[in-house]
């Protein structure tokens, strides 16, 4: 009699410097079920699955497979235990053939040469399991995104896994392709393969999952049977109780229109965008990844070139000829990916705080001015530790984000564009950052807030524009917003699911 539970995780914990990505998670997976793992960005879903796939050798806690304790510290060990993972980003070698990609690591040989026929036969067998009818000798780069993903699944199935982990497999698929994928998942389930399905899309989880586990901030919130749980209670579990958060105090009503944008177009990215921001107003932009929000911000701040359109601040046109030109006219842009675009992680906190000011002025601050600038920003953002010479890598995510905000506040912007200002930061840092943003608005500045964090968008914004496929499709006022914040989450989702 085999165990009813194929996987049993107890108190599994993984920390990165400064953050607990997975915090004491207990999780049991039944043999042959489709188990959905849900949570917002940064909830720890991907990290937890990477632990199962053997990406880390420094997790704590125990993993039992088939009732026996196993230590999984390399991808090879995970495979040996029958765990295969399909990653969010495809990991195929484009120029190589489909067969070579599927059989990587176990290519059939005849003498010193590869056995082409055996390869084709074996690859065919794997491809049949996912119902993909292509020539295995063809190069992977000739395939569509969806077909490439099926090849990736075929590769995983080739090793006869007992557990298949799929990390956000539908993020690049159309509705029809998603349905084909679900049919394949159903077939695999009938063959007894256990599937862990990582996602934050409600409708598809309801469509295929037997049980659902929700993670938030690295902790497990609950495991529930899919047919027994209502969508709203899942959403509540995912985003937490907004009522529990401290409210952001605003001290003034938005005033006259200061910043206007008309006919902004960058073809292929966004079209005919128009909006205004009042003095002291925070305008939120909501939407899914790929809606064109970041591309819009990059053009507004002069990083990328614009096809057509104009913008005006206090009645004067701003020519977005270069980022520096925009900075000099009062625009600041806090980029979304602090590790790649926001901060030079090898340099000190002091250097990072000063470099946008230096670029704006075209002249260095004196040593003393730089120190003063740093201490001012460190104090108002409660940077910890407030050490100017400390390298950025040595700060926690939340404190890195504070330095990034400080760098842009230091340029004294009239219009501050924020792209995911609190992604992956802890609750404390988030509160400080939110207060700073609100204070800036209270001083009469314009704030444009791009965020995928719906409670953040709802608490901070005075108005929200919803963007989809490069266009503004809807505007929501403050009153609508607080009532509809959660509905919005589900709606934005459904729109893509059912109209794509």
């Amino acid at each position: 009699m085999p165990e009813a539970y194929i996987l049993r995780l107890s108190a599994v914990t993984k920390s990165y410097p400064g953050t607990l990505a997975v915090d004491g998670v207990d999780l049991t997976i039944r043999r042959g079920e489709v188990h959905a793992l849900m949570g917002e960005n940064g909830a720890g879903k991907s990290t937890l699955m990477k632990i199962l796939a053997g990406s880390f050798d420094d997790y704590t806690g125990t993993i039992e497979i088939d009732g026996r304790v196993a230590r999984i510290s390399s991808p090879a060990q995970a495979k040996a235990h029958g765990i295969e993972m399909i990653h969010q980003e495809l990991s195929l070698a484009g120029p190589l053939s489909i067969a070579e990609n599927i059989l990587v690591g176990r290519l059939p040989r005849r003498g010193v040469f590869l056995d082409g026929n055996a390869m084709a036969v074996e690859a065919r067998r794997c491809l049949d399991q996912v119902g993909l009818d292509v020539n295995p000798r063809q190069a992977v780069e000739m395939l569509s995104q969806h077909e490439a993903q099926l090849v990736e699944i075929a590769r995983a199935l080739g090793n006869n896994p007992a557990v298949l982990v799929m990390d956000e497999p539908t993020s690049a698929l159309s509705r029809a392709e998603t349905n084909r994928l679900f049919a394949i998942i159903e077939r695999l389930k009938q063959r007894g393969v256990t599937i862990i399905y990582v996602s934050h899309h409600l409708p598809e989880v309801y469509q295929i999952a037997d049980r659902i586990t929700v993670l938030r901030d690295g902790r497990k919130i609950a495991t529930v049977a899919a047919e027994e749980v209502k969508p709203w209670s899942l959403v509540e579990m995912m985003i937490g109780q907004p009522a529990g958060q401290a409210r952001i105090e605003r001290r003034r009503e938005p005033g006259r229109k200061r910043f206007r944008v008309r006919n902004f177009t960058r073809s292929g990215f966004f079209h005919d965008i128009r909006f205004f921001i009042r003095a002291g107003e925070i305008l939120g932009i909501g939407g899914l990844a790929g809606a064109g929000r970041t591309e819009l911000a990059r053009c507004l701040s002069g990083v990328d070139p614009l096809d057509s359109g104009d913008m005006m601040l206090d009645g004067r046109y701003i020519e977005p000829t270069s980022m520096r030109a925009c900075m000099k006219q009062g625009i600041a842009y806090l980029t979304e990916d602090r590790k790649r675009q926001g901060l030079a992680l090898r340099l000190s906190a002091l250097t990072n705080t000063a470099n946008a000011v230096h670029a704006k002025r075209g002249q260095l601050l004196s040593r003393r001015e730089r120190r003063e600038l740093f201490s001012r920003q460190a104090a108002q953002l409660q940077l910890q530790p407030a050490q100017p010479q400390r390298q950025m890598v040595q700060f926690s995510g939340g404190n890195q984000q504070k330095v990034l905000l400080g760098k842009w506040l230091a340029t004294a912007p009239e219009v501050l564009i924020l792209d995911e200002p609190t992604r992956g930061v802890d609750v404390g840092a988030k509160q400080v950052i939110h207060e700073k943003i609100a204070q800036l608005a209270d001083r009469g500045k314009c704030v444009l807030l791009i965020s995928s964090d719906l409670p953040e968008l709802a608490t901070l914004s005075d108005r929200v524009m919803i963007m989809r496929k490069g266009r503004f499709i809807r505007e929501m006022s403050k009153t609508e917003l607080s009532e509809n914040a959660i509905l919005l989450a589900a709606n934005a989702d459904r729109e893509v699911r059912f109209h794509a």
């Binding site: 980022m323 675009q341 901060l343 030079a344 090898r346 230096h358 890598v393």
Partner: protein
């Protein structure tokens, strides 16, 4: 996020930093002292003032080249492989334009070098061509151009107007027993230090080399920064090229051979990270001194020039491997 264990990462990361800090800071001068000690054991004449000048003299031009090359390496664009042909070009142009007088000839020589730097800078900075591939091609094309335009012959200074004599004296002039070119190197190193440490350009160079994307989204005109770094490298290279022509009393396409590799070696053992963003002029000058000392000691020990080339090549590989090894164990520090 790196896949490494937290505690192991911290240790090996600081190892990588330690290697680089050692080479980049005063550490390289510990090596200099060590080599001075070894030298005095190898030969009793080693520490005489005459020999100490012999150590510095052959690497002075190398030092001038390396101080400029440092800017390219710091900008995160590895190396400028068009150094040899740029040196030959500026030397030949200077010699051929002596008819314009000494000032005119120097200006023409520098101008020719700067033109190469401008082309490199535009193509690499603005069109984002791969710096290694492009400068390699540039070197090859320039070399061909020089051979073609002179029919493969050397050009000699025109001594009839007096400018030729002055030209030859450019590299031989001494004051109080100290060669003028050594003073020039000291001056250029001082200027380079100020440029790198105390100007907005230096600040932006460091940011561009450490994190190109970050610089681009912080209002830094990254393309211009990269172009300027290639222009600076071309300027010092052209300066060295003119002085080399003066020293050898001729302009020829073989002038400058080997300066590419030697300059890169000096920059790297001087603690400038090939990945960009890290390094000091002080360290690079130390790297140049180490190259000079090694050459001198090997010569005193009776090694031929081929043996010395092999030894220097080996040294380069060892230093780069040590840095790469330490870095790889720790993962890149910015991840």
């Amino acid at each position: 996020m790196p896949d490494q264990g937290a505690s192991g990462t911290v240790i090996s990361r600081s190892d990588a930093l330690r290697v680089r800090r050692f080479l980049g800071g005063a550490g390289i001068y510990v090596v200099v002292l060590l080599l001075l000690l070894i030298g005095s054991l190898v030969s009793r004449d080693f520490l005489t003032s005459g020999n100490l000048l012999n150590i510095v003299r052959p690497v002075t031009l190398l030092g001038i080249v390396a101080v400029g090359l440092m800017f390219v390496t710091q900008s995160g664009h590895y190396v400028d492989l068009s150094i040899p042909a740029t040196m030959a070009l500026s030397g030949m142009v200077a010699v051929s334009t002596l008819g314009l007088g000494i000032a005119g000839s120097v200006v023409c020589g520098l101008g020719a070098g700067l033109l190469v730097g401008l082309i490199n800078g535009l193509l690499i900075g603005y069109l984002r061509l791969n710096p290694i591939i492009w400068t390699l091609a540039m070197n090859f094309m320039l070399d061909g151009l020089l051979r073609w335009s002179t029919g493969g012959n050397q050009v000699y200074p025109d001594y009839t107007t007096g400018a030729g004599d002055v030209f030859v004296q450019l590299s031989r002039f001494e004051t109080a027993g100290v060669p003028g070119i050594t003073l020039l190197l000291a001056g250029l190193a001082g200027v380079a230090h100020l440029l790198a440490r105390c100007t907005c350009f230096g600040d932006q160079l460091q940011l561009t080399g450490s994190a190109y994307e970050v610089a681009a989204t912080s209002g830094v005109a990254v393309r211009r920064v990269v172009m300027l770094s290639f222009l600076i490298s071309a300027f010092t290279t052209a300066t060295a090229g003119i002085l080399l022509a003066s020293l050898s009393k001729q302009g020829t396409f073989t002038n400058g051979q080997g300066y590419d590799f030697n300059a890169v070696t000096a920059v790297v053992i001087g603690g400038v990270a090939l990945t960009g963003g890290v390094g000091t002029v002080f360290g690079v000058v130390g790297g140049v001194l180490v190259m000079g000392l090694l050459g001198n000691i090997m010569t005193l020990a009776g090694w031929g020039s081929f043996d010395q080339m092999m030894a220097k090549g080996l040294l380069f590989v060892v230093v780069v491997a040590a840095m790469a090894c330490a870095t790889r164990r720790g993962g890149r520090e910015d991840e």
